[in-house]
Amino acid sequence: MQQTDSIRIAPRDPNVVMRLARLGSFHQSRLSFMRVLLRRLKAENWQFERGVFDIDARGVGRAVYTAHGPHRSYSLIAFANDLPPEKRSDRVIATEWDATFTLFDGIPTRADLERLYQNVPRQEAGRITETELSLSRANRSVRLWDYVVDCLAHGQQPDQGRIDDVGYLMRTTAVYGSGKFGAADRETTAERDEFQAPFQIEMLSVFLTRAFVMDLVEHMAALRAPETAVPLAPKLRRRFGIGNSTGLGMAPFILNHPALLNNWIAAREEALARIRALPEATPEAAQSFCDFAKRARLHAQSWQSEHPIQIAKLDDLRADMEALIAHLAEADLTGDMPWNRLWLWGETALAVEGQELLASLLMEPYGDLVDGLSCCMAADEGATWRIDGAMQVSDLRAITQDVYGWALEIDWAGRDATARVWYTSEAKLEPRLGERFDEPIEPYEQPLCPGRDAARMFADLADFPKGPVAGFLLKHPEHRHVVRRAQIAARLPYAEIRDNTIDASVLPIDMLRAKLSFFGACHFDPRSDRWLRINMFQHAPFPGELAGGNADDWTYPYLEGRA
């Protein structure tokens, strides 16, 4: 067999990847945590049961859904509520919800359920313990909930168009994990195979929440009209994902977990580089890619948003998909490093939305090259966190110029460059973004502006021509956090967002989308510049369907006549 020399393609430059406009154009991929979870549940033949479902005609009660893996079982405990409409809000500052949840480590006893009933419906105001792995809540979609219950109660199926306009019956408004409000720390479960990849607890919780919500809507219809009610048709049922409203809290998270952010992006960039480096592609792989491109076009067409920023991005994306499919009709996709040629074409022919979707699509035919990278996406922040005080200040100066060169070019005296302040409100500790020159919030500023802080640190380095960093830090403790960041980013190229996070024009939704794309979310729908809605697990199999179907090939709509 002839040996083909493969050419190494370097992962992309962090100065290209880590810009906010690009991070805010990321899409889900084979490496997304939802897909990692469902591949595992399928491969390991997890079994599911509904141990408790005790909910009255007002919609009040509790349910327990248990997932049995090869070594352990986990139970989603749900408490359903009869919420007055005026109390329904997706904000962190809400105090009641339509349903509240916890993921329990094992199978709860009656006493566990009683204890959790006293706490989980109160969310942040309650306490959970180390047997609980997550805490979350969800609200009904006012647009869809009563309509679907009505239809089913009358023995009719809801209209597919109306379902697709919303895409879910409930949306979660926070999913807390890792030690929050008394829950188990991630460190206590991180060694378990099933939780090795990031956010698997949260994804399992949401996957089971979707099953609960669909059971609940059918149950409510059946209680209302036992004689006439019907369950949802299976094909329509799959069209419901679980919604989510996400606000500013995710932005501090990605800035406060630099090693984790690096590992997510490094895995994705490594996957892209591996595929670009392939000397040739089989006709099957080429055909598979073309099919995925067509399905992604359908996905882009069905993606809706009322927000002007996203409307413009969707226009870009749809045009990009038309251009891609037209190009594929002509392109040779089998020889002469076909994917690298396609990628280079995309760099000039597509907008940023389309380029990043192309990156995700290229992974689809190559599970064997890509899926194993998911095990590199967790991070031990502690391993890279400590400052190297023996580093010479000349080296610190050099890495600052390398990592923060973009920031050293900004005029930080200009008001626009520092217009915003990240802070935490005393009202339920809601993360917020304020106006530095209009509100008295600067004393409460969180350290979420690495560019400005690096520029300040760099200016003070001018007075320290030589010597170890230790001496500089003893004199300048105010730079300690950013010296740490610079040293981390020097080791981990994708650890730092290379953009101004406090500029007058910053769009926090870019940071939110970057994180949510790694979760596997679709249909990003900004509701302002600082919160957005998404859909999760739409078209995915339900727990009981995993064994008999495809656990991974559901994120793009199927082409006509295929399933």
Binding site: E426, L474, E478
Partner: protein, 216 residues
């Protein structure tokens, strides 16, 4: 009520910041308190005591100066959080055999996590001593207390850190949860509260992005 270690770290970080430490030092104070709680030691109590004692004091009065070869604070007693961070920054020197002498130090228990980190990062064994106590950071961390109460005293007249072979003592017994009394939690929560902006009508409306309806 037990606390998760992440909660302890977050509360301690915010409390240290609320008490006036820089963000970088506060981050390390959070990790240090977590380390102590995970070792079953009264880290939250020590942090609460320290922050109360030094509330309002300037950094310059608490940080180490080494004019005489011994680290000492202009204001009297060294802050163990500032000195601890500096110990980590100078870890290579200590590992290479340069003993470090500290003058009067407040709540010296809080130095333990920093010395542990310095030993671990340099793959060496370090010994931390003050009157009545020797702690050895090697393959295991072992505590040898010869005067009862020496470990969690409010102040030590002098502290010495050296590169030395493994010592004797009781190994730490790790735990996965923290047990903090309501009184100590209250002190730390009050310091942490200083980092939260008062809730105003304007910030409530705009700060999280009012935008379109969130009830549809």
């Amino acid at each position: 009520m037990t606390w998760s270690l992440n909660e302890i770290e977050g509360l301690s970080r915010k409390a240290a910041r609320g008490a006036g430490l820089s963000w970088g030092l506060a981050e390390e104070a959070g990790k240090a308190t977590r380390w102590l709680c995970a070792a079953g030691l009264p880290g939250a109590e020590a942090l609460a005591g320290l922050l109360r004692q030094n509330d309002g004091a300037e950094y310059e009065t608490l940080c180490p100066l080494d004019d005489t070869g011994t680290w000492a604070a202009k204001g009297g007693a060294l802050c163990p959080l500032i000195s601890g961070a500096a110990i980590c920054d100078h870890a290579k020197d200590i590992a290479e055999g340069k003993a470090l002498e500290l003058g009067e130090t407040s709540f010296p228990l809080l130095l333990l996590p920093y010395v542990a980190a310095a030993a671990q990062d340099n793959e060496t064994t370090l010994t931390l001593e003050w009157p009545g106590l020797t702690v050895s950071f090697g393959a295991e961390t072992c505590i040898n207390q010869t005067i009862p109460g020496a470990l969690d005293r409010d102040s030590a007249a002098g502290v010495r850190i050296t590169s030395a072979p493994d010592g004797d003592g009781t190994p730490l017994a790790p735990v996965t949860r923290g047990d903090i009394t309501p009184e100590i939690a209250q002190i730390l929560t009050e310091f942490a509260h200083r980092t939260y902006a008062p809730d105003t009508a304007q910030s409530r409306l705009a700060g999280a992005g009012a935008g379109l309806s969130d009830n549809d």
